[in-house]
Subunit: 493 residues, 2 copies
């Protein structure tokens, strides 16, 4: 059969068979494969696998249990409905143009997700992850992020300058280096002439400079007070390589990635409402039974969450089941609060960014798009683990009530006023998904084991990478799997 296909230009030729590893950011499988592949789950991993295999000539079918593709890449708009396991259905009533990225919502610039945005022609815009004008709310106290940072940096600089000047570092660094250090500290902490922190215009103003000099905020609290405020976590939140400024988002909603991938793959290849009920590895292929039928293909890529996959009957062996049960699903929740005015822009001068809190809402996100529009949507909480379980267990009305009560501690009474609508998601309660992401107790032998296929069944998903909870993880995993699958097809051809 392959010889015949080769003659028709459908099977890989000798030249095609030479495998060349793809370059990052410019992925493509070399050579053509003619096998059929059934992909379980049309989330970002499944869609990416189908997209890349399709480019290389494979015939893919995706089985999706839900009534739409995308998995956790979920953007909600007016008219959408949101179901929960054993829970109420929420009707989304957002106004025209308002959307809520209920799943992934930001992309670091080094992530492969941006390459897919480029390749698929999805316009991107800045997602503001750090905003000096946003608040830090810790231990019952609310200050602007810029104020919290100025104070901690100021006192750290003062203390180190003091220690340097009393000779505490004489055995550690040279006098010349001490001078360089003091120069840096003066700048870093905006220290006064005596190398003491006396406040700084970096803290912000009650009235910013204009014709006059403006009115800076009052003087900072004492070192003790600033330390006791406990702003450390909040002001270092964007120090990590995955959270550093700037970040990005597709214009108009994260699901543009799903829409463009679906378009490229072909909507007709995606069977929705097709929950998988059995996976059978055969000597010459894989048979997958689903609600409404069954599919036989040369290969299978199982791109479902591991805890969902573990429950599906299969003949892949006990070690697969054990390995799939290792990662622990993590609860994660978000609420979208739609307001009739963008008071955070008009009154608080907060344009995008995140308010960090030690409350159970964890964060408040302000939208990084449609600035100055009439309406706008805040993310009123984005929490996980215990806090998410707490909110998830409430009714949508009670989640909203609680989120508004918490947000009021930061923004005052206006936070509870003029809320037009809201939608909350509890990912651990989402049908067919049942978790925000997973946590590996250890990246142990199970993690390694599932990187390899079980017979003709491959596993893919962010959960099989070190980019868990990022779409980039799903995409990287898919790239890895299709590369290995393609290599095998070319070698066996």
């Amino acid at each position: 059969m392959y010889a015949a296909m080769g003659a028709l230009g459908l099977a890989p030729s000798e030249q095609d068979k030479k495998f060349v590893a793809p370059r990052a950011g410019d992925f493509s499988l070399r050579g053509k494969g003619a096998a059929t592949v059934v992909i379980l789950g049309a989330g970002v991993a499944g869609l990416t696998a189908a997209y890349e295999l399709g480019k290389a000539g494979y015939d893919c079918t995706l089985l999706e249990a839900a009534d739409r593709a995308g998995g956790r890449n979920l953007t909600l708009r007016g008219g959408d409905r949101l179901d929960e396991l054993n829970g109420p259905t929420q009707d989304v009533t957002f106004g025209q143009g308002v959307y809520f990225n209920a799943g992934p919502a930001r992309i670091a610039p080094w992530m492969v997700t941006l390459d897919y945005c480029r390749e698929l022609g999805i316009p991107i815009e800045t997602f503001i992850n750090d905003n000096a004008a946003a608040y830090v709310h810790t231990n019952g106290r609310t200050v602007r992020s810029r104020t919290a940072r100025a104070d901690m940096y100021g006192y750290v600089a003062e203390l180190l300058a003091k220690a340097t000047n009393i000779g505490a570092l004489n055995r550690t660094i040279t006098k010349a280096d001490q001078e360089t250090l003091l120069d840096f500290l003066r700048r870093f902490g905006d220290l006064g002439p005596k190398l003491e922190y006396e406040g700084s215009m970096r803290r912000g103003f009650t009235k910013y400079p204009a014709v006059d000099l403006g009115t800076p905020l009052d003087l900072p609290g004492s070192l003790h007070q600033v330390l006791a405020a406990g702003t450390g976590r909040a002001i270092t939140n964007n120090f990590g390589y995955d959270q550093a400024t700037p970040m990005f988002q597709p214009v108009g909603g994260m699901d543009a990635i799903v829409a463009r991938l679906t378009e490229a793959v072909g909507q007709e290849r995606i069977k929705t409402g097709a929950r998988v009920t059995k996976i059978t590895n055969l000597h010459d292929g894989v048979e997958v039974v689903h609600e409404g039928g069954s599919v036989k293909a040369d290969y299978c890529i199982a791109a479902l969450p591991p805890h969902i996959l573990a429950k599906i009957p299969h003949n892949l062996g006990a070690q697969v089941t054990t390995a799939l049960r290792a990662p622990v699903p993590v609860a994660a929740g978000k609420i979208g609060l739609e307001y009739g005015t963008r008071w955070w822009e008009l009154e608080d001068r907060i344009y995008g960014g995140v308010t960090e809190t030690d409350l159970d809402i964890a964060h408040i996100w302000y939208p990084s798009h449609d600035y100055h529009a009439e309406r706008g949507l805040l993310v009123g909480y984005y929490n996980h683990e215990r806090d998410a379980e707490l909110y998830g267990a409430l009714s949508p009305e009670d989640r909203r009530r609680r989120a508004l009560t918490q947000g009021k501690k930061i923004h005052g009474e206006k936070y509870r006023q003029n809320v037009l609508s809201s939608v909350s998601i509890a990912w651990e309660r989402r049908p067919h998904i049942q978790g925000g992401w997973v946590r590996w107790p250890d990246f142990d032998s199970s993690f390694t084991f599932l990187q390899r296929p079980a017979g003709r069944v491959y596993f893919a998903g962010d959960w099989l990478t070190h980019l868990i909870a990022w779409q980039a993880g799903a995409m990287e995993s898919a790239r890895g799997v299709v590369t290995r699958l393609h290599q095998r097809v070319l070698q066996s051809a």
Copy 2:
């Protein structure tokens, strides 16, 4: 006359006369004025004054020496021409959609400029002023901004932890506060278990995590090397209240502000090519002679740069001339480099932001818009004072050559390749402007003196504020002046 106008509804009524100070961000003059006002200069100050006076019923005429309104708010596009005093004319040949904000290019969110964007319906987008992926080039060495920051923070944290632990701060802070401080330092510097800085994933990766853990950058240099690198200025550049992240820009070019203000004021009220040659304060008005005619009006607002205004013959008194000569014009320059590919995005993964250098180019700006487009424009230098004078004295070809040679030190040979076109501006050489902004040796009595009108002539501009070199300064000054002028008109009516 006023009584007659009052009867016609043109002059302020008794009720209108009650003056109420405008609210910030929602400016409007209360009551109607029916006076005529001649405004010298259709830059941002002049346009704002005309706009606000127009809303309050005044009849304004703007005299602009150049052939276009906007002053330093200048966005260059293909087809534009750029003149210099005693210098060559540059033809701008940028491709479709490419623009270069040659003057102001970023807006802090607290600035009144954003209010005007809102009021005038100008869409805004994020301007990235801080990018962890951009570079810091100091003392001949190039590292990513994230790396420079991680290293300095790491060592600062380690040193302060060390000083704390040997008891150097025992007389300064309590033991309990020391523990809180150490907690913070561990997080702030990403310190190891011994509270030492051993490098950090925050520094970045040669290969970012994916299916595997990735490959972090090599270990940092020694404390001595990190201090010697001299990155302090670069990594604290955005600590100030005017440079903090996020910042903003109008979509499509800064001159959207000029376009919308012009539209609102009425193009027909702006006489271009009308260089002012004489200002005469009369007992009942002001007469302004310009190239091509003269205008008589009830009041005048002189919104020209002070050093230009100082040279125009007038009868406002010697103290005015002396005061106008106090502020010193500052040279400022920029070059726009148009490339045929956005290599900074594709190869360096730099999406927007600024590379800070100790070279004479000072900064390199990457565009915060049109990500993934085919072409793009970098700002290859943005310097002032001596560095700007140095570049300004060169021919456009030599400015470009020098900028490319400097940029190559950071980005390598690709920086000099595929440059499609370039345009450079030397603001001290711009006709009718002759400076990037001004510097007051002291905000002394001259500064205060010019806040008041000389007879019927008022002065306006960023140079009369504490927001020099910002459009917000021009707007705030204009608001102040029209408020005082209107108050006077209402009181004298």
